[in-house]
Amino acid sequence: MKDVIPIQTNNTETIAVSKNSKNIYQQAIDTFSNFCRARSLFVLHYCTGCGAIELPPAMTSRFDMERLGIQPMVTPRQADILLITGYVSIKTLKRVILTYEQMQGPKYVIGICSCTVNGGMYWQSYATAKVLSEYLPVDMYIAGCMPRPEAVLTGLQQLMKKIEKGEANSWENYFKRYDYYLGNQQHLFGDTWHTPTDILEEARHYHLYGAESTGNNTARLIKYTVEHDLTKLDAPLREKDSMTKRGKK
């Protein structure tokens, strides 16, 4: 099964949304929305690895994130930014993906620490996911072992600029190119990998369904869910018997 999984590393370009279809009011609303989005960022810090220790100074009186409109939040539902603060073990990655999928778009992922960029000093570890952006669309890496709070804040400010310009749209890629991300996830976790969030259904609902949303990997996921009578891909609660026999992780 492994041979069919494509490993692509170049996913940084954003699939362009045609802006011509929008009239001037919509553009004005978009500009204003982006203006507000850039000024209010709720952070969910997924404190893996060492980098978490740099966040308390960034939040408290020394550097004070709140003056930039950045606030820590508790659950993925409330957050805009997922901060991954260090190396991500494979077990952790499952949770990171679950958490990411439960966040509401526009959502941004920031990888702090070199370990998220390329595995850093854990390059040879069998249990660490090396390149975070293969599994999730990462908006920004803040490299360093570990980066100082100034670096973190600078990174956040750069992200804010990007958001204000309306360029921080890589979260849409997760829907538009779900097949690619799912393939990489399956590569690590095996064919039975699935999460409670129905990404394809959401992609359809939010009009983010693209040509690359489905493919071999999503076909495998759908096959698995159908085989196990786990029809979560069609709104389980409306479907008969869908609640029974839901497999465990």
């Binding site: 204003f32 000024r39 004070d64 709140e66 508790v74 409330q78 526009p106």
Partner: protein
Amino acid sequence: MSGQHIFLELILMPLLAFMIGLFLVLMMRKVRARIERRVGPPFLQPLWDIIKLYVKKMQISHGVIHDLGIIMLLGGYITAEVFLPVPGMSGFTSQGDIITLIYLMMVPSLGLALGVGQCANPNGSIGISRALTAMLAYDIPFIVVIAGACLYYGTTDLTEIIALQKSQQWGLLSMPILALAGLIAIHAMLGKEPFEIYVAPAEIATGPMVEMSGKYLGSLFVMQCLQIYTITVLYTSLFLGGGYTWFDFIPKLFLVALLPVMITVIFPRYKTDDVLRWLWKWPTGLALLGLAIVVLQG
């Protein structure tokens, strides 16, 4: 009053409440930041937060009751604002007195509780359980305060209470003990530390807000603004003589909100049992003392 006038007030009173509430929230955050030696959020931060949440592109719901709860929550507070007299506008105050107002203020809590219940998240349910327990805790002193004030003024009509204070003296001067007990009760009502049992981020993942996202969370932020506004206006009307004009009314509101905020920052959180015991002991005792004085004075 003409229909047009009424309609204007129906729109204007909640809108003003929201705007003032935004600044009350801003003040709370600023004061907290300053006490913690931080700079604090920019001027329009609460507004940016709410707009950002409303313009989130993904909005998820756990079912119809989740939505309905949020609508009830907004509707309940909008109703409460119309029954709350402010300078120049008295809305429908003469058609529903302070008892009505207190019970109207429970409608949004019920809406929130229903919405959270539908989310099927035990953290949320625990949050609601604690919120209702806290309500039982702080409403007892609060009700004694209300009863004392109503006995003293001899009416339950808020406009009349304000008029009486303007013609005689402020409730704060005539009933200082009740006013103090009321201040503690509204501190607990605002759900700030040390009475913050139902949010408890580290413990139950912000309780009621755990599954709230996008405009759902945004509506909760709006509710926070309206809640602070409603509670401070109620206190101001009972003890600080309401507002003569907007120029003295708004500073009073900020003053009332400021005192709990100053205290809240230096406290950690009580556990549920201790909230109950503490609120049933000290503010309730004070309030009963104040009530006794009011009754004995005749």
